[in-house]
Symmetry: C2
Subunit: 684 residues, 2 copies
């Protein structure tokens, strides 16, 4: 099922947990081209071949037709030109006559030229000679994914509350401002479970501190929020302000926990706090030390964190900026031409000096670019292990910006600093199945867009998609605040967020299934309808689990959209408490979708469970479930996974919910099930 090929002497990344014996021969699925500094793998492509995977990276679900570089990058403009993004997920599936998967386990840059240079060739080039290559086979595309996922270990299990609505903004300057935001939710009957704290809650952007002036009595503030069922989720930046007297800085310096420069001095870059050190998360002692500091917050009652800036993002290094200043001052009298100007612009805009940084890996000094893609992964793995020491059985919310395959066992991710673009709403949909293939299940994009100013309609449509996405977080940092209450149609947003809470038994169940069965929660239609050539073309609809299809609107000013149904399905339009259903034949249909509508489709014979809405996950009545079903000869069924949502050791309950002749049953006596709408047996 999975074969391992060892090239050179790889650094073990820990991505693969299965014990796979290395093959003696070279892989037969791909050709090998030996180059001076590296080897390349080549697969000839037929016209109809498709390529899936690459996790978070941009473009289509079918990745063919572009050149991607796996090199964790903090670049906030995810245009079609981008090659590298925050996370590095080197798994692809070549969907050819005999499909197979490839995982390049290399912590340095890897180039995936997937029909870019030559339309008919995929060329994968790790930029180094020491790495493991895995080839994964299977009976179907989904089977290849499951086989890969079994090899890389079970995905992170997020707490149930983190499936509630989370509000965030880089711009909440004080506890009072946060209180006001939460009050808007509570006063207007809009559910919420979490509030993220961005940079401003810290003292001068120093990790593991709080801003006493604007967030006085932080512990009391955490408790106050918690009492109203709101979890505060602080940001943890990867770098540490270089400042004598600041204990984190001092301890790191004293114990050599920070990355070094070529002369073995602590490396100094500049990020939000100004000059910073970079904890050497690849050194287990340093990782453990940093992770132990999360206790500062957990002691106050915090149970959720987001790890940020951990590619690592570096605005400039002291060295590079000094060099730039010197060059400018030495040439101060010289007239600049166009080329001088563009050279200056280039130097000011691109200053990630990764080649100046060194790690201590098992006592060996290794230059950062050789292990670059593991940095955020190791920070987050350390954090996860630190949190486990603090509370061994407790599920914390933990998600990271940078990542690498393997990190999916420790945390979720968000897809970074996207833009308030309609194209990024669609991109966020396409990232879902691709990330699932790579083991990342607790995922989500910044609803409404992080950069650029959003519009009300974009934000509404983005919410409608995100109703189905595990991490449902509205986050931004642009000039225009974008909480739902900033816009005109507050009730439309309320309908959408209420629909989320109603759908939670289904969403959480599908998430648990994917975790426990090493499966995908979101699948491209191609993975389900393998013999339907039209389904293979569809990149703006997704299957969720076995029974549901989503088809969000992602075009501005569109009153609806065309949806392709690969089989007869029940259309559901949910407006918070209100629900409309209608049966549709296989084929292409235009469906009107109002802004407050969550649109989805149920396959015949299936049902989906719903809760009554509540103002937080804690307040949900989990013993009362209503169902929407599309009966097949009077019956429909669903296997619902659930657990306590709090502990790691919680056993998964598998409930059978069955509808026959309008009567609903569940094999758990505690749960009352009612049929809300059964299309084939007259409604309501």
């Amino acid at each position: 099922m999975i074969k391992k090929y060892v090239f050179g002497t790889p650094l073990e990344t820990g991505a693969v947990t299965a014990d796979v014996a290395p093959e003696k021969n070279t892989p037969e699925e791909v050709g090998i081209v030996d180059k001076t500094d590296c080897v390349a793998f080549v697969k000839e492509l037929e016209d109809d071949d498709r390529i899936y995977g690459l996790g978070e990276n941009i473009r289509g679900i079918n990745k063919r037709g572009w050149i991607y570089e796996s090199y964790a990058t903090d670049d906030g403009i995810h245009s079609e030109t981008l090659k590298s993004i925050y996370g590095v997920h080197n798994f692809i599936i070549i969907d050819c006559k005999k499909p197979f998967g490839i995982f390049v386990d290399a912590p340095f840059k890897v180039t995936f030229d997937l029909g870019y240079t030559y339309m008919d060739k995929a060329i994968i080039t790790p930029q180094g000679r020491d790495f493991n290559l895995y080839i994964i086979n299977g009976n179907s595309l989904s089977d290849i994914v499951r086989n890969f996922r079994k090899a890389i270990g079970k995905s992170y299990l997020a707490p149930f509350w983190s499936f509630g609505y989370i509000q965030s903004r880089w711009g909440y300057k004080s506890a009072d401002e946060c209180r006001q935001v939460v009050k808007e939710f509570r006063d207007n009957g809009v559910p919420i479970d979490g509030l993220c704290l961005d940079l401003d809650y810290m003292d001068s952007c120093k990790v593991f501190t709080t801003n006493e002036k604007d967030f006085p009595n932080f512990e009391g503030f955490v408790k106050e929020m918690s009492d109203s069922n709101v979890h505060l989720v602080p940001i943890i930046d990867a770098a540490v302000k270089a400042e004598k007297g600041y204990c984190i800085s001092d301890e790191g310096v004293e114990n050599n926990y920070f990355c070094k420069d070529e002369n073995d001095n602590d490396y100094v870059g500049c990020v939000w706090p100004g000059h910073t050190y970079f904890p050497d998360y690849l050194n287990p002692d340093a990782g453990k030390w940093f992770a132990s500091k999360y206790k500062y917050y957990t002691d106050m009652g915090i149970d959720g964190f987001w790890n940020d800036m951990n590619e690592p993002a570096i605005f400039f290094s002291k060295k590079s900026l000094d060099a730039l200043k010197n060059d400018i001052c030495e040439n101060k009298e010289r007239d600049f031409g166009a080329n001088d100007y563009f050279a200056l612009r280039h130097r000011v805009n691109f200053l990630w000096d990764y080649k100046e940084i060194y790690h201590n890996v098992n006592g060996k000094k290794i230059r950062h670019d050789k292990v670059h893609n593991m940095y955020g992964y190791m920070m987050t793995k350390s954090a996860s292990q630190g949190l486990e020491e603090i509370a061994p059985d407790r599920r914390f919310l933990l998600f990271s910006r940078s990542s690498y395959i393997g990190m999916h066992r420790y945390a979720g991710i968000w897809t970074g600093d996207n833009q308030a673009w309609w194209s990024h709403l669609l991109l966020s949909l396409k990232q879902l199945p691709s990330l699932n293939m790579c083991g990342f299940l607790y995922i989500g994009s910044d609803i409404g867009g992080f950069n650029s100013n959003t519009t009300e309609d974009l934000s509404l449509r983005w919410h409608a998609l995100s109703v189905f996405v595990p991490l449902m977080r509205n986050h931004n940092g642009s000039d225009r605040p974008q909480e739902w209450f900033r816009f005109i149609h507050k009730d439309w947003f309320r309908d959408l967020i209420k629909s989320r809470y109603r759908l939670l038994p289904f969403i959480y169940s599908e998430y648990l299934k994917a975790v426990h069965n090493d499966d995908m929660m979101f699948r491209p239609l191609r993975f389900v309808y393998e013999n339907d050539s039209l389904a293979a073309e569809i990149e703006d609809q997704l299957m969720i689990g076995d029974s549901v299809m989503i088809a969000p609107v992602y075009t501005q000013n569109a009153k609806g959209r065309f949806v392709y149904l690969p089989e007869e399905m029940l259309m559901v339009k949910m407006y918070g408490d209100e629900i409309e259903t209608e049966e549709y034949e296989k084929g292409r249909h235009y469906i009107e979708v109002p802004y407050n509508c969550v649109l989805f489709f149920i396959k015949k014979g299936a049902l989906i469970p719903l809760y009554d809405c509540a103002m937080s996950t804690k307040e949900l009545n989990k013993n009362k479930i209503s169902v929407l079903c599309f009966s097949d000869e009077g019956s429909a069924e669903y296997e619902m996974y659930s657990d306590d949502g709090i502990t790691k050791s919680s056993k998964v309950k598998k409930l059978e919910i069955l509808v026959e002749n309008k009567f609903a049953y569940c094999n758990s006596n505690d749960i009352e099930v009612t049929v809300l709408a059964d299309y084939l047996n007259t409604l309501f």
Copy 2:
């Protein structure tokens, strides 16, 4: 039909040529809000209201849902965040219960907040108090456009040869390299009519010079190309290198033809040649002087030009760069924090110092930002008038990057430095009808994308759309050259370009109709099928004239696309010499579209005329026409416009082509017409 409202004391831009008496009252179509520095116009929007227009600007055909700024800007990243683009086209139509058009004739910045701040309001704010506002009424959307177009004067008439294929690249370093490019076309049987020359043909980017080293005997080179039916089209940049001894620079200085700074010294900015002066095109003497210099090239046989960098683009000014250098050097020893760094980045990236520049307008000193949007317009208007003095009856090819309504009478435009993005392929389609509304008919985008590296499939699909676009130019400046012969499937590109030449009698005829009837060549479906609510939603298909609909593929890896037919139509797939046809019912259909296929649809009762392909427009046999028809009870017809394609005074011939019972007629005896495919009367 058109009403004029005068605010303050407007500078006359010359945009409107009709003699319209000013109204005494204020307009009743929009509300007026008087602010301190300006007035704003407000129109409440119903849910179903749409907004069309704004010419070149980004986003949808329906412009609702964004805030646009009319301020000519050289920004090569046309993401969804953009507000301003190269051209300024202040005409919109509010498609509400009683649709009407608005034209804001103001040469300074105008903000169009079209449902951005409030989803249900359009707010138009000229950033000044002196301007003319026009309200245009009509019986239909198309009628409103025609009424506006009648008021702004007839559109520029391009020569027929400029409808041939034009190859371009910022990167042809020598005449030999150009020869080699043309040879590839000729050797492989791919038609071509023009080759653009970018910066390198000049001596050190100095306008009205040639690079003697790499383009020796320029006049001979022009003749050699002309002899093989290739027109050379040099770039003319707006700014003039500041260099003593360079005659253009010296003459400009001597006669005060350049823009001034606040102290009445010649203003010095930096563009490609390094330090430059900016001819004051708003001063008629300066414009006339600059335009007279085109004779340098026309004397050598050149008959086409593209005016570039005329927003004007300014990389920096000497003043602003000196200030930046000083600030850096004075603070050399100070440690930079994150905010210092971002401040530096901002200053390096954004340096258009328009407020440092002054014009002489009728003897009055006017700061540039008050008249900014007229700069490229006046450069190009001057050029057109200069060329008319050189050869009064000759049609020159002339197109410009910056523009303003009014300039459509003098030249075409291309849509500037787009990107090799799939989203820009779709954008280029959406710009076509919007530009037509504003009078620009000779238009086109850089096929394949100017910035960023293209892919073969993107380039193919872009060619397939551009087959129908008047200016069909493949132009780029990225690392990856993108002439068709750089790719694997050369024959696919050949098929597409050959289809262009075959379709020329139709394309040129539709262009002439739009010019002479003040009409749109490209129309949104909404303009034609006014009672079809689905057609109103379609933004990825266009009508060409009365009888044809296009629906290009604009999605990577898609083997085809869904097409909405608002009525029964004949589908045509053209592959150069090969043609396939099939009848389709009204409704939504999935159509496979191979990469070498030009897809379009013909309405019932219509026909379209075709030429046999030739290797240049000059070699076409215009006396032989074959037709494709979709007969209605055995008959189909088309009114074909043609002229000599060379002179301005050429009379338009209106030919009636008629097919009845498989027999084809034309009311010109010189023309032989044959029926190539008549769907309802058996094929071929």
